[in-house]
Amino acid sequence: MPMSPDPKSKTELVPGTLILLVLRVLESGPLHGYAIAQRISMVSGEVLRVEEGSLYPALQKMLRKGWVRAEWGLSDTKRRVRSYRLTPAGRAQLESERAGYDHVNRAIQAVLKLA
């Protein structure tokens, strides 16, 4: 499923939200790297695009922090794939990041409405 080449529809992720998005996407079940990128892009209506160059470092960081666990499985095409599964610590992290994001978001909205 190719991304839209139109530059207008491509939006840089707000810094610091990538991990939040990945955590959220993984909440509904384990996915492999490519699928995570696809899912984010699809759900956002192809507005948000995840660069591979930031996805893999982010996944490594989440592994290091213990928010996700990696496990190898077989794909439909009988290829070995590594999928990532949320750990309880990751779930907790997701909640706290989501709360933090909502908080900031509401604040920004309030300012925008007022001005």
């Binding site: 490519y34 470092p57 960081k61 592994l63 290091r64 213990g66 290829r79």
Partner: protein, 831 residues
């Protein structure tokens, strides 16, 4: 915590995880549409970025730098070997000294050394290091500040073995200690057990522990030694344990203090108020040394009520932690100076390497420029260059450890030190600490310079050059000053007839003799000795010449050495009265001084009839004697005074005998004479020339050490200067070629090389000479045999300067020759 574990497990499984990441990314890429595939970016770079998250990237870079550094060093074997030699010497020599001193520091193994204090009797104006057994018992029973009080009596002469058993009796030294000595000083037995409180019970079998070296030497290292009986002064003792070699002592057998009267017949040590013990106290937790002094002040006052004759007014026990140096003492200054001298070698080595590395850097400018052009940041270049220096330093550290172990082995073979050959953690820490520190000193400036982070290297090079010249000069000046004074010591006469003197110390005090009996014994011994053939004169004195004990006065910052002697002293010693008169028998309140003392105390006045300014008051000078150094060997300007013998001196006194012919022939006869009067005694007969030889040997040993340091430092300078000059020539080949082509003469070429070096060399030399004289004056005040050293004698400085100039000439000989033979045509084609 868990995160750390995950990081470590990542490090452990790195290879597998990286393979997996590559596989994962390849899969990702395959799933992407063909037109996007090229957008994936450099997969290697992506993997590196992802890997960076785990925080181990520095390890990769270190590995990379180390591999590269090793290759660079391998490709320049000349530089590497020189540098390693320089630094291994610079670290290894101080390290050897450090390891020896570490072993020498007594109490190094004591647990919690801060609360272990040495106790000294102190009262306003007086102090004494020794206490008596009744005092030990009193304080042990009453002082609440101390958990325990340890009593030690070391260096007691005794005779081991017996003629009847077939082995020859051998004089050895034994120590008597309270059993708490061993736990408080942290001494564990190498074999068997140490002495325990059970051994101090009156009904216990007399027990002894022996020192490992004694066990090896005298008992053949018998593994069944524990439980064996030995004889000391003819008394049977049961060996219960062997003390490890690491305990630094000349006492070969250790016994419970309460057994002293059993081993030393007639001793009244346990009830005697004149005995001499060394006392240590273990403070209770939370009690400060000051608080304990308050308590002992009060306790001593109550003791004074019982024994007013033995306890001073206002007396207390000064408590000083055993590891604490008295920072005002001469000894401390000496230790500090020696440490500084030895460490200077490391400074010289670092400065030396600094110049070498800087000089070598010039040839690598090319390489560095390429690296930077390829995108290396300046800091990355600095890190890589510094890693090289670090690698060099660590390799040298390993060599230094080996070197110091070889030195220690050599010292062990000559029985100078008992330091362990296997370096302990302190030695290893010191080695690599020094290595890393020196890498910072010699490596960083060059690295910064090469990465062009600082402008031209001019200043750093000058500082390095000046430092190494200064240090070498300092060591050269000090050793040449010492050699000079040593020569004068050898040429000087001590001012009395030491070649024909024997002293007999019968050890009356230890065997329970009190005054009238001791005087009777000495009178008898003297009468019998006088009848021996070839005995010319005899005298009774409190201290024998050049002994271990000294009496004296500290007045206006100078040490005056004193003695208490009888009227025959001058005649027996072969000393001459210059003016005034000698003592009369039984006289008191009078004193003799030597010429140096008279001149110093009463310049431009007549000393006769004056009163000595120090305690006790009222000692009138009745005579002036010729200068003689009887207290210390080789004191060229001895300050001495002599008082008449006083009542009560006899138990400690010695008999001086002047003989004609070789004094060594008298040792046996005098020993027999002393034993003939009381066979329980252990008389010590000392030939005075032996003391002289021993002192001269000691001074020579100190000198040898300084001379070795000086030589090594000079060697370093030669290497460093030669290297520097060589690189200067290499670097300026073109310029020199042009000069030659334009008609420069060889002398002008050499001058062109030398001129930029000359200022730091001159500066270094001046600083070195000044520092050398400062160090020499500290040494003079610390080593009695060096007291004649003249810091303002120009000869040593000139000698050092000439020697160093020769060294300098030698070191630039080869590079200079090379420079003058540069072929202008080739030089211009160079590069």
């Amino acid at each position: 915590m868990l995160e750390l574990l995950r990081r470590l497990s990542y490090l452990w499984n790195r290879r597998r995880l990286e393979r997996e990441m590559a596989e994962e990314m390849a899969y990702h890429r395959e799933l992407m549409s063909p037109d996007r595939r090229t957008n994936f970016g450099d997969e290697l770079r992506l993997r590196e970025d992802a890997r960076e998250i785990w925080g181990w990237a520095w390890l990769d870079r270190l590995h990379q730098d180390l591999t590269y550094g090793a290759r660079v060093l391998r490709n320049a074997p000349g530089f590497t070997l020189t540098a390693m030699l320089v630094l291994a010497l610079g670290i290894g020599v101080p390290l050897s000294a450090f390891r020896v001193v570490l072993t020498d520091l007594q109490g190094g193994s004591a647990p919690d050394p801060d609360s272990l204090v040495h106790l000294t009797r102190c009262a306003p104006g007086t102090r004494a290091t020794n206490l008596t057994y009744p005092e030990l018992a009193f304080y042990a029973a009453n002082a609440k500040s101390f958990r325990s009080i340890v009593g030690v009596s070391g260096g007691n002469p005794a005779v081991f073995g017996e003629a009847a058993a077939g082995s020859t009796p051998e004089p050895i030294h034994v120590a008597f200690v309270t059993s708490n000595y061993f736990p408080e000083f942290g001494i564990a037995p190498a074999l068997g057990r140490v002495l325990t409180p059970d051994d101090e019970r009156p009904d216990a079998e007399p027990a002894a522990v022996i020192v490992e070296s004694f066990w090896q030497r005298r008992l053949g290292g018998d593994p069944a030694v524990v439980g064996r009986s030995i004889r000391l002064n003819g008394k049977l003792l049961r060996v219960v344990g062997v003390l490890p070699r690491s305990i630094k002592t000349r006492d070969e057998v250790w016994l419970p203090l309460v057994r002293q009267p059993y081993v030393v017949e007639g001793s009244t040590l346990l009830t005697d108020w004149n005995s001499a013990l060394e006392l240590y106290g273990r403070l209770r937790p939370g009690v400060s040394p000051q608080a304990s002094q308050q308590e002992t002040l009060a306790l001593a006052a109550t003791l004074r009520e019982q024994r007013p004759d033995h306890v001073w007014k206002g007396e207390y026990l000064e408590a000083r932690p055993i590891l604490q140096f008295d920072s005002n003492s001469e000894e401390f200054k000496m230790v500090l100076t020696s440490a500084a001298l030895v460490l200077l070698l490391l400074v010289a080595a670092c400065a030396n390497l600094g110049t070498l590395v800087l000089a070598r850097g010039v040839t690598r400018e090319h390489e560095i420029r390429i690296r930077m052009a390829l995108g290396a940041s300046r800091l990355r270049v600095v890190r890589q260059l510094f890693t090289e220096s670090l690698l060099l330093a660590v390799l040298s550290g390993v060599c230094a450890l080996v070197l110091s172990t070889v030195v220690l082995k050599g010292m062990q073979l000559r029985h100078i030190s008992t330091a362990s050959l296997v370096p302990d953690w302190r030695a290893i820490t010191a080695t690599f600490g020094a290595a890393i520190l020196s890498a910072l000193v010699f490596g960083l400036p060059a690295a910064f310079r090469l990465a062009s982070l600082v402008p031209r290297a001019g200043r750093a090079r000058k500082v390095f050059l000046g430092a190494q010249v200064g240090v070498s000069c300092l060591l050269l000046v000090v050793s040449s000053l010492l050699v000079n004074s040593r020569q004068r010591l050898g040429a000087s006469e001590p001012g009395f007839d030491y070649r024909h003197l024997v002293s007999i110390s019968p050890g009356l005090q230890a065997h329970g003799y009190r005054d009238p009996a001791a005087q009777v014994y000495l009178d008898q011994l003297r009468a019998r000795t006088a009848t021996l053939p070839d005995v010319k004169a005899t005298s009774q004195a409190w201290l024998g010449p050049w002994g271990d004990f000294h009496m004296g006065a500290d007045w206006m910052g100078r040490q005056y050495v004193g003695n208490r002697v009888d009227p025959q002293f001058l005649d027996t010693m072969g000393m001459r009265l210059v003016r005034g008169r000698n003592f009369r028998q039984g006289e008191s309140g009078v004193a003799l001084v030597n010429e140096a003392t008279a001149r110093l105390l009463w310049p431009d006045q007549d000393a006769l009839g004056k009163t000595l300014p120090w305690e006790p008051p009222g000692q009138t000078v009745i005579g002036i004697v010729q200068n003689a150094s009887t207290g210390y060997v080789g004191n060229l300007e001895p300050l001495e005074f002599y008082l008449p013998s006083s009542r009560g001196d006899a138990p400690d006194s010695v008999l001086l005998v002047r003989v004609s012919g070789s004094p060594r022939d008298f040792v046996r006869r005098l020993q027999d004479t002393a034993l003939g009067l009381d066979e329980r005694l252990q008389p010590t007969v000392q030939v005075v020339t032996d003391l002289y030889d021993r002192e001269v040997e000691k001074a020579s040993a100190a000198l040898a050490v300084i001379a070795i340091l000086g030589t090594v430092a000079t060697l370093l300078s030669v290497v460093g200067l030669a290297g520097l000059a060589g690189y200067t020539v290499a670097q300026r080949t073109r310029e020199i070629g042009i000069r030659i082509a334009l008609g420069a003469r060889p002398s002008q070429v050499v001058r062109a090389i030398l001129t930029p070096l000359s200022r730091p060399i001159v500066m270094g030399f001046v600083c070195g000479a000044l520092g050398g004289s400062a160090v020499a004056s500290v040494l003079r005040s610390g080593i009695p045999t060096m007291s004649g050293l003249d810091v303002f004698d120009p000869l040593p400085y000139v000698m050092a300067m000439v020697f160093f100039a020769a060294v300098l000439a030698l070191s630039i000989l080869a590079p200079g020759r090379r420079a003058t033979r540069i072929n202008p045509i080739q030089a211009l084609r160079h590069e």
